[in-house]
Symmetry: C2
């Protein structure tokens, strides 16, 4: 069987793949090929790992392709693609680290850890008095989580021990207390923290009127996609000191432009799209592929299938 | 009734006290008096708020004193004092913020938030790749909490949602899995995180042999007292890269000397004894006093009594 690896795997993950790959599978790495041979090699794939340009797929499914393992959680760029084979993504693989960055970022904001880290880098001891009277607590906060996917549910789980009152916003999830923008707008004046875990398909969801409905002093955190937040509206209320702060793993433009005021706003923590990261990330992606290959071989249902398949 | 306030309360907390104080209580603020009149005013106290020099108390209990409200959690400096009246401390008032600084600090370390905060202060975008492959997770870690007092129990509660395996070390607490230094030493090779929540009376408890028994790559966090850790031994194993990192709210000497290597060690977060802090801290201390005054007035058991009383 012919595996085409589009993912730019680390050297150690490549070794890991070679060590684990069944003997009947032969791997071709896209990055090893001259550019003008990549597309034709792709067309010979029986299994595909990674996220090639959408145009490669809309040009026609490779005739021998049996399975496509996307190597990310999101797959918006393929939303118009439909293939007659099983397609899987990384499922909740990125969810838990994203959620830890959110909960860690919120605690960091309340406990002024970013400020203390910068002071440490300057070897400046300010002592308790300078920070203590401004420090807050996550304890008992009223939280709304936007999105009840894997990330939103991981955030909810991690908040278990902090005595927070947590509501999920999602159109159809059975445990969602909030179902619509109207529900959300009504809840925001009594909400201390909003955590955006929405996919890119929810473009513009957290609009200016929702930002404006937030409670004075409340905190906005986002690990969704930058395009789901009205960033100019958010920025305005952060600059005005109306909002209490923000933890932003994503922004509308990445890298964040050097002239963005977000860089220097107090009580804003920028985590630079590191949320999904964890050590041995590429190795773990390989493991997800290998598990699905084994399920495919033994005729069992694959894990983390997504809705890019038709008629198989 | 005569209340002597030794605590250096903020102006707003003083206003708060005046607004809430029963009409039959008259307050004298130590800091308002010339130094040579302070001790004699103290001797007229019927109620005392705050932590005067131990010598003031060993010189003889003020004859009219009925109740002493200590304004801290710790009271080591009074360990030789015994008074024939009820004495209370701030109980778990400082516990929850200390615990949030510990759990937030651990998440910050795993998610590289201090590094990201420093990069943000330099307006440097490094993007995910630079950090993601080094990021870790709190999820599922094996944790030992030293001390089963209010802080240790708050840390345990906050870890509830992270799928950690948590063991308490305490001589007598019914839920402690580890009872002695020997138990601890045997557990350390299988422990990912040690969180020191010990009082100052446990001087030198986490000794060099325990530091050396820690697992390679494991993390040490301390919000106890600086004197409970063998800091040179800890420093040595951090510098050697043997340990994975540290979150230190307390150090042996505070302010930390400018030439301490701790300032610049990677994966060490110094929170500068801010752990117990929260906004309206002085107001909350006043509230603890007022609650105990009301309990005293109505003959009910006081809250947060400590063992500095005899024969009442």
């Amino acid at each position: 069987m012919h595996l085409f690896v589009f993912s730019p795997l680390s050297a150690s993950a490549r070794t890991h793949l070679y060590q684990q790959l069944p003997t009947n599978v032969e791997a071709t790495f896209c990055s090893d090929l001259p550019v003008d041979q990549q597309f034709s090699a792709f067309q010979e794939a029986e299994v595909l790992l990674g996220n090639p340009p959408a145009a490669w797929l809309t040009a026609g499914t490779p005739p021998l392709l049996r399975f496509w393992q996307i190597d990310s959680a999101g797959f918006e760029r393929y939303r118009h693609v439909r293939l007659p084979i099983p397609v899987a993504n990384m499922g909740d693989f990125f969810a838990w680290p994203c959620a830890e960055t959110m909960v860690g970022g919120l605690l960091a904001l309340y406990r002024h850890l970013p400020e203390l880290a910068v002071l440490q880098s300057q070897k400046k001891w300010v002592g308790g008095a300078h920070v203590r009277n401004r420090a807050g607590l996550l304890r008992g906060k009223r939280v709304v989580i936007l999105g009840a996917g894997a990330i939103g549910l991981a955030v909810r789980q991690q908040l278990t021990g902090f005595e927070c009152w947590v509501q999920l916003l999602a159109r159809t999830h059975p445990e969602a207390a909030l179902r619509s923008k109207e529900d959300l707008k009504a809840a925001l004046p009594d909400t201390d923290i909003v955590i955006n875990c929405l996919p890119g398909s929810a473009e513009g969801f957290f609009s200016a009127d929702l930002v404006a409905a937030m409670r004075p002093g409340s905190i906005y955190a986002s690990v969704g996609r930058g395009n789901t937040t009205d960033e100019p509206a958010l920025l305005k209320l952060l600059q005005a000191g109306y909002l209490g702060g923000a933890v932003l793993d994503v922004t509308a433009i990445e890298p964040l432009p050097a002239d963005s005021p977000l860089w220097t706003l107090p009580n804003v923590l920028l985590t630079q799209h590191t949320g999904g990261g964890q050590a041995l990330e590429d190795e773990s992606k390989v493991d997800v592929l290998l598990r699905n290959l084994e399920l495919l071989r033994t005729g069992q249902p694959l894990e983390n299938l997504v809705e890019l398949s038709r008629g198989y």
